[in-house]
């Protein structure tokens, strides 16, 4: 665990010192699960005045392996509407998969990527086959080979 712990310790120290606008650290009690809140900074009507909660799960191989990142649904934290975000919070984003991940990414850069993924979106829809996926999926996000229906989003 040394590798992940040391790197996460450094990231946590930095996050406590300063955070980019629209990103807040909610909890980081250990080096396995962290919660962060993100907001979209522009006036995109899809996400206006909303805050979204992200759950990060780190393996002992982080940052060699990507963390597992999902949106979580709580009383005042909905799952954002997006053609690459399933209604159970699973995110289909290449940098979070083993094909697109590189170890220079970090918690902050992931949050910023997700902010811009939302900012740039104008479609008020879920991915194709969302209901079926949400009903049947028992796999963890990192084990899913996402098929990108629409690479323009």
């Amino acid at each position: 665990m040394a590798f992940a712990t040391k790197r996460l310790g450094k990231e946590l120290k930095k996050l406590h010192e300063s955070l980019p606008p629209g990103i807040e650290l909610v909890s980081a009690e250990d080096f396995q699960d962290w919660l962060l809140d993100i907001r979209v900074l522009d006036a995109n009507p899809l996400y206006l005045n909303q805050t979204y909660r992200l759950k990060f799960k780190f393996s002992a191989q982080y940052p060699i392996e990507p963390p597992e990142v999902v949106f979580v649904n709580t009383k005042d934290r909905p799952i954002p509407m997006h053609p690459h975000i399933y209604s159970n919070g699973i995110i289909c984003l290449d940098l979070l998969g083993s094909q697109g991940w590189t170890p220079i990414q970090n918690v902050e850069s992931i949050c910023m990527s997700l902010q811009s993924m939302l900012t740039g979106n104008s479609k008020n829809e879920r991915p194709e086959g969302d209901q079926q996926f949400v009903a049947n999926n028992r796999r963890r996000p990192r084990d899913i080979d996402f098929y990108y229906h629409d690479n323009t989003v």
Binding site: F3, T5, K6, R7, P63, S98, T102, P103, I104, N106
Partner: protein, 95 residues
């Protein structure tokens, strides 16, 4: 007065011959510190410079390159990671 030296100690400092304030992009530790798995900096935890110009702790970049998903690419620029032969000395020293 005559002084007879009985014993003397010398102390030296060293650092790698690369950018002073740079950290390894993988573990985010200073190059002059060790990778997260080592205790003492130096030859046992050396640096590796890629031909693409990016440097890492050797142990860090090896962990990454071992992964199939790395496809042998540099984490910074995604070019094929090929190292220079004598990293610490071959790397240019920025002023």
């Amino acid at each position: 007065m005559k002084v007879k030296i009985i014993k003397w100690n010398s102390v030296a400092t060293w650092r790698w011959k690369i950018a002073y304030d740079d950290v390894c992009g993988i573990c985010q530790v200073h190059f002059d510190g060790t990778c997260p798995t080592c205790k003492y900096p130096g030859d046992d935890c050396s640096l590796l410079s890629g031909k693409c110009g990016h440097n890492f702790h050797m142990h860090c970049i090896v962990e990454w390159i071992k992964q199939e998903s790395s496809k042998g690419q540099c984490p910074m620029c995604r070019q094929k990671f090929e190292w220079k032969d004598n990293p610490a000395l071959a790397a240019p020293t920025p002023a």
